[in-house]
């Protein structure tokens, strides 16, 4: 159970899309995917608006791993249990939209990708999944594919794009995912991040904004210094 704004949700999984904006694909050097590229984050990573992102000491103190990145994303929340949903019916199964920050231990991820290991540990540290500030209902967002999306670190704009640049749009993404897996109410799907990804450091203030939804604000704190807030 997690409260996002005034909405209680009880997600059983978080599924994220990788490489779903062309400018992000170019900056990472990944191939353009022929179908949505999906990976999970575990629920221990979830935090909400104004809660701190904890930068693990384990990463901070290790030169092989000491880069952690922000990734602002449009996320949608599943409304009901469903499977095999066709693209034209997708919006019937979406509760609403929110802002998601897919915080990623970048050096660790790169190392794991190169050695063909799963993308898990780099993505699922505690607090690596900020979500919020609210869930906007489907009928409040006329077109989820025409929203400005932006991320600032300490007031400086780092990512700035529009959801119209999503490679796989929400209907085809959800059709694809539900071909594989049963979705449950509250499940979170994050649709991928635009270009401009970069590092966060302890002390940074991260503001992730999507037009008509709001701003998700989280401060970065080094593990062990939570009490010095």
């Amino acid at each position: 159970m997690i409260k996002v704004g005034d909405t209680m949700i009880n997600p059983t999984k978080i599924i994220c899309l990788g490489t779903n904006y062309m400018d992000h694909i170019e900056e990472t050097g990944f191939e353009i995917p022929g179908e949505p590229l999906i990976f999970p984050k575990t629920l221990n990573c979830l935090i909400t608006n104004n809660q701190p992102i904890i930068y693990p000491k384990y990463l901070y103190n290790n030169r092989r791993y000491n880069r952690v990145d922000y990734e602002v994303e449009l996320a949608f929340i599943v409304k009901d249990k469903c499977k095999n949903i066709s693209a034209e019916k997708v919006y019937d199964h979406i509760l609403g939209y929110t802002v998601f920050n897919d915080v990623t231990a970048r050096k660790m991820q790169t190392k794991d990708i190169i050695s063909q290991k799963p993308w898990f540990r780099s993505k699922s540290f505690d607090t690596f999944g900020p979500i919020g500030p609210v869930i906007k209902k489907v009928d409040e967002i006329r077109d989820p594919h025409n929203l400005d999306i932006e991320l600032k670190v300490n007031g400086d704009i780092k990512q700035s794009s529009n959801t119209k640049h999503l490679l796989f749009k929400i209907p085809e993404t959800f059709e694809y995912i539900t071909k594989f897996f049963t979705m449950e109410p509250g499940d979170i799907i994050a649709t991928g991040t635009p270009g401009g990804i970069g590092p966060i450091d302890p002390g940074d203030l991260i503001e992730a904004t999507i037009e008509n939804i709001g701003t998700l604000t989280n401060k970065v704190i080094l593990e062990g210094e939570e009490n010095n807030l």
């Binding site: 990976f39 190169i114 505690d126 049963t182």
Partner: protein, 225 residues
Amino acid sequence: MKIGNTDIEPTKIICIGRNYLEHAKELNSPVPTEPVFFVKTLNSIITNGNPIIYPRILYENEEFNRVDHEVELAFIIQQTCKNITSANAYDFIQGFSIFLDITARKMQILDRNKNLPWYRSKNFDTFSVIGPRVAPLDEIKDPHNLNIELKIDGVEKQSSNTKHMIFRIPQVIEYLSSYITLEKGDIIATGTPSGVGPIQPGEIIEASIENIGTITHQVVLEGKT
């Protein structure tokens, strides 16, 4: 969900890849120097007796039509925990079960070779089988000395002993909990021995671990009952 007589409420399933030397060799994977973890999502879980559904999108596609069995020893987390040392690991384990990590092998290899995440190949509905019970900690004197085996239609396919694990349970908990918070009910599967191979619709899969029991599941093609 109920495993035998035990109610558990997992928030995640974490599996270890390549944790038996012989299995790493049969997959042509390097022997890991630290545990390799991946996630299975909860939609994949079934318990004792329910069928393993073979998805049509795999069965009818030559690129994807191989689905494998993998029998594993799993343990269940007793309470929320983080940064556990190996010396205290058993204080945080509720008990042990048998786990089948069903894997769409061709899809996994295809994804792996493209440096893509191992996710979809592992997480079809019914691809995580657990049961027949949660054997409490005090019933299992040494979890690293249990015979583990899997049969298809009565023919033995995997047969090993948990003493051959590369990373032992205390090490696994220490390592994993240094990354992430583990919650009560979470399921950790400790990897499969060699002998993995395909399953087909109609087959009966029986997986056993000494002192825990046997789980029996039929493989059914999606859309057939």
